[in-house]
Every structure is written in structure tokens, then in C-alpha cells.
Amino acid sequence: MENFLGYKNRRWMWINLALVVLLAILYLFDHPIGGRSGNSWLGWIYGFLAAAGILYLMYFGVRKRSYYSTSGTVQGWLAAHVWLGVALAIIVPLHCAFSFGINVHTLAYVLMLVVILSGVYGAVCYVGLAPALRVHRGGGTFKEILNTLRQVEREVLATASAGGEGVKQLLAVADFPFEPDVWSCRRGKLVPEPNRAREAEILAKLSEQEQKAGLQLLAHLAKKRQLAIQLQADVAAVSRLQLWLYVHLPVSFALLAALATHILVVFLYR
């Protein structure tokens, strides 16, 4: 199946793989005076590439909102964004010659790794979940599902209040409260398993007239249950598609701050 990662025959994957391999080979053949470091010629080149790469990746946030832009497709930009991001995880250690410490310079790399890992997680979520979500939701938005569900709830209550004591007893057993939020949906278990045996037991005791109303009630509740499960799954899925961005984006700005400090300190003290 074609997704954004495989955009145009994985063009961006191959370009970035080639870049990383080329830089790694250069690294192995480079023996600067004083040993490899960010302060060698090649170290400087890697550093410049990495910094330019980070700025380019952050520009994606602008590009994806530029709906009238003609510079490539958003899909193409996204593919480049993901693969260049992954490549940076390797280019930066080449820049510093794998020397890390407890300082603002390594902090920038750690923040970058957090951004990259959250981004990879997000990409995996999109590739895995987005197609499934389209099928699952059947085109309905949360609001539509929720409105339908509330409508069903009102029908449940109307049926129950029209019915006798037996129907109300059935309602108490078969109905469940549904007050979802993102976190409870992610945890699941918002919709309890129906107690079929108890329902059948109560139904059996009812009169024929009430049994009819009872069965109608149960039908409404089954509809509510189905809508609730669908909403819970959809909310959970959509949150997975959104939550990683709350890491990816703020940490990328933190990275920008650390990167600026790194560059300033390194250049001023050089």
C-alpha cells in the first residue's frame, strides 16, 4: 500500500540513506589533527548540515499550512521531513564524533532524539491507524456520533418511563452511564459488558406487554452500546494521532533554543 513514507518509490528514503552513507564514509576516512571532533573541517560541515536540516524540518510546520504553495506536494514534503529527521539522528553524532557529556551541547542532541522518536511514533500511527480510522468511523464525526448517541439515550429514557416497574428494573441493569473524555476513551472500559443472563431473567418475569417494551429498551441500549464503543475507539485513535504532536512540536522548539545556545557558545569561545 502506498503511503507518504513510500512517496514516489521511497525517493526521500533513498536520498537520505545515500546522504548518511556518504557522510559516514567521509567520517571514516577523515583523520584530522587532534582527532575527530565538531571542530574539524568535516565536523563543521556536519554541524552546518545538521543545523540547516533542523531549520528545514521546522519549516515544514509553515509549509503544511501554505495551502497555495506550489513547492512540491505536502505529501512529498512530509516524506522528506520524516526521512531527513531520521537521518539527523546519525549525522549529529558524526558531527560531534560521538563525544557526549552533561552539557547544553548534548542536551540539544537529546532533545533532537526526543523530537525524532516522537515523530517516528507519529508517522507509524498515521501509517497504521489513519486508513483503519476512515473505515471505522463510517464518515461520522464525533459530534454526529455523540448526537446520535444522546438521541438514543433519550429514546431509552422515554421507553423506560413509558414502561412499568419491570422495564425500569431492566433499565437499571442494562443501562450504563456514558460521560467520555479523551483519557477515559484511551483507557477503554467505558462500556461495561452486558449482563445477558440477568436481563433475560428480568425479561422472563415481565408480562407480555412489558416484555415488548423491555425488548425495545434493550434494542435502544444495544444501539447506545455500539455507538459508545465506536466513539471510544475513535476518540482513542484520534488522540493517538494528536498526542505525539504535543511532544514533537514543543520539544522541537526547546531543541531550537538549545541549538542556538550551542552554536552561540561554540562560536564565541572558539
Binding site: G35, N103, F142, P180, D181, V235, Y246, P250, Y269
Partner: protein, 446 residues
């Protein structure tokens, strides 16, 4: 109707709880907050406080570890780079001080500062503060730099070694070991290595088999050989006795004039001032047809001329046949005997020896690292050398036996600084030495 509106409001509230954007702070807020936090903690805080360790790219080298918490010891202020003055505040007072003023370090061509080679805060190798790579040298020395330097692009391209041979009265001249025609050690000392290494030589207490180390003694640090010393080494066998009638009496190993004055004094003492009982055997006996000298002496018949005559005879023997001539190049003065006698100066002169004390002054060699190797492995030809003019220093090919980069294992190093030193360490004069607490106080003050 009202109920429906309530439900709708409740529905909206629930709908809001299904969206992360209403449950979490906005991504823009989080982004700005986190960026400011990082900027504050790692950019602003170190700037305003004295602790800037999070800015350091690595640990200090071990040599400078005591300055780890003392940025201002080297950095004059925020964002200040290190200038040489900061280094010299301490290093002018150490053994490197004088050598750092060496013209080579501060000439027109070479204008680098200390930190160009010595980079701090590189935690990868805390043991050393400067690169060992030969490229640091060859980046300039691949081509000729100055009059006395040679172009050396690599160890493989290193030219044959040069030895410092005496040239003229005071100078030394660097002569390549490949330049066999010029390779003559004019040290004005006669020494036959082949003869000295012959087994069963007549020594002080019977026969001896001399070893190299009997004459060539290394310095206390084992690095180089001390100059061969007449008093310590040669004299054990080569005594300076001057008269067989005075066994055990030796002239001093000094200038010809000193030798003559010593002889004059000895014979004066002997013939003019000595008591009968102290006269050594030989002088007591009268020779056939002659009166005893003692008798003459006692008659006070010896004149100053007689003493001079004895001293001159002994002197001539020493300078033209025995002790001196064995090692030295001697020549006779042209002055008349009268002027020599009146001035009490020697009738002979000695060509001043000029034995090279440092054969390869451009390199630093340590014998102590090569102890396992037999002397003649490097100083080949010593067993066949009959003249002191032979130069017995090892050629590059000898070093190449071990010091080669193409060997897979066991290869000795071939970096420039294996043999060449950059800053020659020099001893600090005693007047510059200080008390420990003064040094510590100064370090803390910085």
C-alpha cells in the same frame, strides 16, 4: 425545549472533553514555554551566574583539572577566548617558560597561539593536551622552512640523519650521514675503538675485557651519554706518570702550561728542597763516572737551569712519546728555550679537543627506551673502527628496522614527536622557584 437545550449544552461539553485541544494547553504555548525554559536554564542562567559548566564541551585535561571550577583563570571574561598571556601567567614560571620565548615559536612565519595546538575542554583524551599527529608538523615542514630546516613530508620521506660535526674554531656543522666525503669527525682526539674492544687488554689490575659502558656512561635519566671523562674513564688505565723514578706521581690532566709548572715544581722540590730521607729511590744512586746528584744537591750545585732541564726532558717525553700524545694532537712551540723558561710556559701546545656532546641536536633520543638493543646494533662498525674520525652514529635505516608504519604489529611509533620535541623543556633557575603556598595562592587569585 429547555431540556433539549440543556442536553445540547451537555453534549458540547462532552464533545470538548473528547478533544485534546481543550484538555491540554495549546501547542504554541507549550512550545514557547519549553523553549524559554531551555533558553533560561542553559543560556541565560550560566551567563548571569559564575557556573558555566553546562557550556563546556568536555572535561578539562588532567593537567588543568585544578582549574575546572575557575573559569577566570584562563577566560578574561564572558565569551573571552584564550590568549597566550593567560597561558603564560603560569607557564612563564615553569620549565617551558624560556623555550616558549624561542624565536622559532614567535617568528614571522610561525604566528600561532598556544590554543591552536593545545585545546582544552576536549573530554575525549584528558591525559594529553596537544595532538601527536605528524600532520601538525608536516603542514608546514613538508616544504623547507628556514635555512637549517629540511623538507620532510613524512617519516618515509625523511632524509638521512645529520650529525653536528665541529667546523672551524667554535661552530658545528650539520653533515648528512649519507655524505660520506664530509663525514669526518675532527675532534682532535685519537681513539681506536677496535683496539679498546680487544679482549685481554692490560688493565690496572691485570687483563680486562672492556665493554662500551666502561667508557660511555649514560646520564642519570638514562637518556644520553655523558661526555667521556679522562679522570673517570681513561685514567684508570692511562696514568699520567712522568718519571719512572717517581712511581705513582702523575701530572695533572690540564693545560700544557699547567703540566710544565707542575713538573718544574716537582723537580724543584725534589732537588732543591727535599731532605735526604725523602728522596725517592733512583736519585740516591750515583751513576758511573758521575758524582751522586744528591751529593751535588747537598753541595747546592744544582742550578735553576738543572731543574728546568729535568722538567723539559720529562715534558718532552710526555708530549712527544707517551701520555699526552696517546690521545692528543700536540705540536712544539717555536719560541726559544730561554723565553719559554723565563715565562715558565710549556714548550708544547695541544689541539683543543672538540668532541660533539650532542650528535643529533635537532632530535631527542633516549637510550633508556632502547636498553634491550646491543650497542653495536645501532653504532655499527665500532669493532672495526681504528680512527676517531670515524662517525659511528646510526643511519635512518637502522631506526627503520623497528620504527616503520607498514609493520602490522610491534611497529614502533613513527610520529614526528617520537624523535623531535616541540617546546624544549628547560630548567627553571633557582631564583625563580617559589614556595608551594605562593603558587596555590596565585592559582586561587586568578
Amino acid at each position: 425545549m429547555a431540556q433539549t437545550e440543556d442536553k445540547g449544552g451537555d453534549s458540547d461539553k462532552t464533545l470538548g472533553r473528547l478533544s485534546l485541544s481543550t484538555l491540554l494547553p495549546s501547542k504554541a504555548f507549550l512550545s514557547i514555554a519549553l523553549a524559554l525554559l531551555v533558553l533560561g536554564l542553559f543560556g541565560i542562567l550560566p551567563f548571569v551566574s559564575s557556573n558555566k559548566r553546562t557550556w563546556a564541551t568536555g572535561e578539562m585535561s588532567r593537567a588543568h583539572a585544578m582549574l575546572s571550577n575557575n573559569c577566570s583563570a584562563c577566560h578574561a571574561g564572558d565569551f573571552s577566548k584564550i590568549n597566550d598571556n593567560a597561558c603564560m601567567r603560569c607557564h612563564a614560571l615553569t620549565k617551558h617558560g624560556e623555550s616558549l620565548k624561542d624565536p622559532h615559536r614567535r617568528n614571522e612565519v610561525f604566528k600561532h597561539s598556544c590554543v591552536d595546538c593545545h585545546q582544552e575542554h576536549d573530554g575525549s583524551e584528558p591525559e594529553r593536551l596537544s595532538p601527536r599527529e605528524s600532520a601538525l608538523c608536516t603542514s608546514c615542514h613538508a616544504s623547507k622552512q628556514g635555512d637549517s630546516s629540511l623538507a620532510v613530508a613524512s617519516w618515509a620521506a625523511h632524509p638521512e640523519f645529520r650529525v653536528a660535526l665541529p667546523s672551524g674554531a667554535h661552530d658545528f656543522q650539520l653533515v648528512s650521514l649519507a655524505d660520506k666525503g664530509k663525514l669526518v669527525d675532527e675532534s682532535h682526539i685519537k681513539l681506536n675503538h677496535k683496539l679498546h674492544l680487544k679482549p685481554g687488554l692490560r688493565g690496572q689490575d691485570g687483563k680486562v675485557n672492556l665493554q662500551c659502558r666502561d667508557c660511555h656512561v649514560s646520564t642519570a635519566d638514562g637518556k644520553v651519554m655523558q661526555p667521556v671523562n679522562m679522570e673517570k674513564q681513561c685514567k684508570i688505565c692511562h696514568g699520567l706518570e712522568f718519571d719512572p723514578r717517581l712511581p705513582g706521581r702523575e701530572v695533572p690532566h690540564g693545560s700544557p702550561d699547567l703540566v710544565y709548572k707542575f713538573l718544574y715544581a716537582e723537580y724543584s722540590k725534589l732537588f732543591l728542597g727535599a731532605e735526604e730521607a725523602t728522596l725517592p729511590a733512583g736519585f740516591e744512586r750515583s751513576r758511573p763516572g758521575q758524582e751522586s746528584r744528591l751529593v751535588e744537591a747537598s753541595k747546592n750545585a744544582f742550578t735553576r737551569a738543572s731543574v728546568e732541564d729535568e722538567a723539559r726532558k720529562a715534558e718532552r717525553e710526555l708530549f712527544t712519546r707517551t701520555a699526552c700524545l696517546l690521545c692528543h694532537e700536540t705540536s712544539e712551540r717555536s719560541e726559544s728555550p730561554e723565553s719559554l723558561n723565563s715565562g715558565q710556559i710549556s714548550a708544547f701546545t695541544i689541539e683543543k679537543p672538540r668532541i660533539p656532546s650532542t650528535w643529533m641536536p635537532k632530535s631527542v633520543f633516549s637510550h633508556s627506551g632502547h636498553e634491550e638493543v646491543m650497542c653495536e646494533e645501532c653504532h655499527s662498525g665500532v669493532h672495526d673502527s681504528t680512527r676517531s674520525s670515524d662517525v659511528l652514529m646510526p643511519e635512518k635505516a637502522v631506526c627503520l628496522e623497528c620504527h616503520r608504519s607498514d609493520m602490522h604489529a610491534g611497529s614502533a611509533s613513527t610520529d614526528c614527536i617520537t624523535c623531535h620535541s616541540y617546546h624544549e623543556p628547560q630548567g627553571l633557575p633557582a631564583s625563580d622557584k617559589r614556595r608551594i603556598n605562593e603558587i596555590v595562592k596565585e592559582l586561587r587569585r586568578q
